[in-house]
Amino acid sequence: MNKGGQSSSTGREAVDDRDLVEAARRGDREAFRTLFERYHRRAYALAFGVVRHPDDALDVVQDAFIKAHKYLDKFEGNSSFYTWLYRIVMNLAIDHIRKHRRVRPVELDEQRLEDGQGIDEGLLPKLLGSNPGRALMDKEIRGRIDAALGELSENHRAVLVMRELEGLSYEEMAQAMGCSKGTIMSRLFHARKNMQRRLVDLVDHAPANDDAAELDDAAASGSRP
């Protein structure tokens, strides 16, 4: 993916995000447009990962940029503009699916935590052979990945997307989602496990045991094991 989206026609490619934010705050619409052009596709990928519908994802991105512009004065500059933006995108995306869902997916890990149970399988040792890039060329596999993502609860999917797309640390995700680091680890672990399980026929090796019970204890206590 072109991280910057389409190229800017304003000749501001080299301008720092902070300078663009400052200019946008002063009413420079072109500066804000440059920020839009830099990040709209990244924002879209993030939104699509959560809402899983192209038109809904576009709506989320549009709303996110409008909201970002509205609250530019509240952007303190402690993080990058995109870090701030993706939080807006993520919040809007999660709000969107909560408003439009008909059946709430059960979060297996949290349910089992309540039941005091563990899980019976862990991370799979191998997935899709050794060439994921080639696998992505296969339309059927893309469809299966979409379906597997769709089977996750919104919280699991959000954590997985934030981690894999943005590379956020556990601590950053905990802050973004307003929960403990242990809960983030639990959600991420189970999201990955469920994804692997749904793509199990593409796996080269048999599943291995894990120490998921310990993981669940850690999530329950809100701390690292």
Binding site: R41, A45, P125, V161, M185, H205, D211
Partner: protein
């Protein structure tokens, strides 16, 4: 403890563990899954035509323009009352003029009767000090009010007819 959780932390760069061949395979699987998810989402973003984002920017630009337009100043209570009066002003004037005309007519009629009473008492035969009792007042399209005025000249009856639209207007 070196379970799958620690392997996941290792894969995510949150912790360091020693890797055997089996553990290394699991870590690689985590990376592969991440690559699949990332690749799938980035490809989905690449599949969106530039025109869609172009249209999106136009809509954002439009929305920002709308947001920048000062909102209409809230209308105060006094202004709303003034507007209501302005709206019904013609009805009020009509009502006041009509009522005034009726009142003036009643006073003129009463004045003529009093004069006639003074200069030609033969023509008047007072049978009672009370005015004639009105049994029925038909005022189509309006409201009728009857006043009985008693003074040294005797009793006077004033019929005040108010057009209906004056009442509705207020």
């Amino acid at each position: 403890m070196t379970g799958d959780l620690e392997l996941m932390e290792h894969a995510d760069g949150e912790a360091e563990v020693e890797l055997t061949a089996e553990r290394r395979a699991k870590v690689e699987a985590v990376h592969e899954l991440g690559e699949l998810v990332r690749g799938r989402l980035e490809r989905a973003a690449d599949d969106v035509p530039d025109a869609r984002f172009g249209a999106m920017w136009k809509e954002i630009d439009k929305q920002l323009d709308l947001a920048a337009t000062p909102a209409a100043k809230p209308v105060g209570l006094f202004r709303r009352i003034t507007r209501a009066i302005e709206h019904y002003r013609s009805h009020i004037i009509t009502g006041v003029v009509s009522a005034g005309a009726v009142a003036a007519l009643a006073l003129v009629l009463h004045g003529g009767a009093a004069k006639r009473d003074a200069h030609d008492p033969i023509d008047v035969q007072r049978v009672s000090h009370r005015p004639a009792e009105i049994e029925d007042l038909d005022t189509p399209g309006g409201t009728g009010t009857v006043f009985n005025l008693d003074d040294e000249d005797g009793s006077t009856t004033v019929i005040w007819v108010t057009p209906e639209d004056t009442v509705e207007g207020i």
